[in-house]
């Protein structure tokens, strides 16, 4: 009933008046507002907006941490577009991000559909499917290193039972990114929970109407579930892609870019430039280019969304008017 509370709040708002003449109470409320947001405001200056501006400025300097900054204008950006590692890491990142999103979105949607069925032990299954995402972290990175081990790992052991010689996984130039995608799919439970929440919000009467029209489960899935879930899918695609473009700490632990830079992703490259080579200026330029890339991709996705995302809002608004 969020809408109605907001409506009540709107109605109870005093009639519009000239801005300069706020009442005593309003002025006190405004003072309280700024007092209350003060912790965040200070944090914003020192850990949010401030560093963002600082980073933009740094990207135009040739700052080696020990030597101090020297203004170079666009020098870093010129260097960046001639840096073969820039293109390689970008390619690796897009491969990893694209793979994670496409496979992750599909598998977690399937998981959510399964977990939404009325079965015995539903709570148990939900917990099991969600658990890996809760503990995702360094310990699971080691776990997967162990599982992917070409000779002694779980996967190749199981494949060996069927007489299949498995690949080198994280030690193979071709398999290292797919391995990382498998690992991140395993721990993608939070996406699954968001789908699950979305599924519960699909009105039951739509399915009932479809049943009356004689629709089978596939038809219901394709004509009711998918369109109704499209905003949720869209949300997960956008946030998942942004997240995977930035993910690098587990890769740092597991492969540190090996073999032959095949898993050197963009974030890892920024980390190396900043904290191993101490090229603060160049690292900042790299970070800003990443930001621009993320923005462009998000805008493209927003544009594409117009063609396939269906928003129930229009219809709901009409129904509310009938009720009012």
């Amino acid at each position: 009933m969020q809408l109605t509370t907001e409506k009540v709040a709107l109605l109870s708002k005093p009639a519009p008046r000239r801005r300069s003449k706020l009442g005593r109470l309003e002025r006190r409320e405004e003072r309280m507002f700024y007092l209350f947001i003060l912790p965040w405001l200070i944090g914003f200056i020192f850990f949010g907006g401030g560093p963002i501006i600082a980073s933009a400025v740094m990207s135009f300097t040739n700052w080696q941490l020990l030597a101090g900054p020297k203004w170079t204008g666009l020098g870093n950006y010129v260097q960046l577009f001639q840096d073969p590692l820039f293109y390689l890491t970008l390619k690796n990142t897009l491969y990893y991000g694209g793979g994670t999103v496409v496979i992750g979105v599909m598998t977690s949607f399937l998981q959510a559909l399964l977990l939404n069925q009325r079965v015995h032990g539903q709570a148990f299954f939900r917990t099991v499917f969600y658990l890996p995402s809760v503990i995702a972290g360094i310990a699971t990175a080691f776990l997967w290193l162990n599982i992917f081990h070409p000779d002694f790992g779980l996967i190749n052991t199981v494949l060996g039972v069927f007489g299949i010689q498995g690949p080198g996984w994280v030690t193979s130039e071709y398999w290292v990114i797919p391995s990382l995608i498998i690992m991140s799919t395993w721990s993608g439970g939070s996406t699954m929970i968001i789908y699950l929440a979305g599924l519960q919000n699909i009105p039951a009467h739509l399915y009932e109407a479809a049943s009356i029209d004689g629709a089978g489960w596939w038809s219901k899935f394709w004509n009711v579930t998918v369109p109704m879930m499209s905003p949720v899918i869209f949300f997960n695609v956008v946030t998942g892609f942004i997240g995977s473009l930035q993910a690098f700490t587990l890769i740092l632990i597991m492969t540190n870019g090996a073999p032959a830079n095949a898993s050197l992703v963009y974030g890892l490259y920024i980390y190396r430039q900043a904290f191993q080579y101490f090229n603060i200026g160049y690292a900042s330029a790299l970070a800003w280019v990443l930001f621009v890339i993320i923005m462009v991709i998000t805008l493209v996705q927003l544009y594409l969304a117009k063609h396939w995302v269906y928003y129930e809002g229009e219809i709901q608004r009409r129904e509310i008017r009938y009720e009012a």
Partner: protein, 295 residues
Amino acid sequence: MRLSIEQPRIEVGPHPGQNARMAYVLHKIMVYALLILGSVLFILPFMWMLTTALKPSNEVFAFPPQFFPTTFLWQNFVLGWTVLPFTQYLINTLIITTAAVIGNMISCALPAYAFARLRARGRGIFLILMLATMMIPSEITLVPTFVLFSKAGLVNTFWPLILPAWFGYPFFIFMLRQFFMTIPKELDDAARIEGASHLRVLWSIILPLSRPALAALAIFSFVGNRNNLLAPLIYLRSSDKFTIVLGLNLFHGQYVTYYNQLMAVSILTLLPIIIIFFIAQKYFIRGVTLTGMNG
């Protein structure tokens, strides 16, 4: 406005008639088969972790590999824990995590209340500003923040890991704000008329009603800070200041052949989170749902 909160039924309901009945049963069997297969895929890695932790070193790298160890070496847990000062790392982790969680709770509840309840000119702009910082990749702020802390002489202390938590975290503020918005405003209006201050309304009305959201925040903050690798890696230099996560990383670098002990310590570090998860799983799920969808 929710039209219905009933759980949708995707499966075909049992219709009278032999064929429909058969289809229904087949459907159920398929669902259970997939669920069990999925559970095995999710649990098997954990089992592998556990059996590796219990193997003697020579069996970890035995060929052909065995799933179960011949002898169960429970002392791997003790050996792994003591080969590096993991007790010290645990204490360090607890200090940092506790300070950060408390900081997050306080510094996020206040702005969240302001954004949900207090009317002020500029509120919309500040809210947009806050949401915008959520979208900026952390790589951008990483370097300047590091320069800031190193200029302040705080590198190799816990402060860079604790201080940011005391100054609001947009993701959590937004999550709490979304929750506060669902609490009827009539409740705090009544208290306000009785003469309660905003701080009092927040403390005695809003926060007690927001326990699920606060629990979700505390758990996310705990897990996030505990799992944090990047900040400790950048800021903590001397090994007596290391966190558990850094300790594991050090272990991995130095004793790469002791995979069994590494797995044993990994299990020990995961246990608290797994236990918390089983106790508070509905709060976890609630938190994800809140931040994800209820916009």
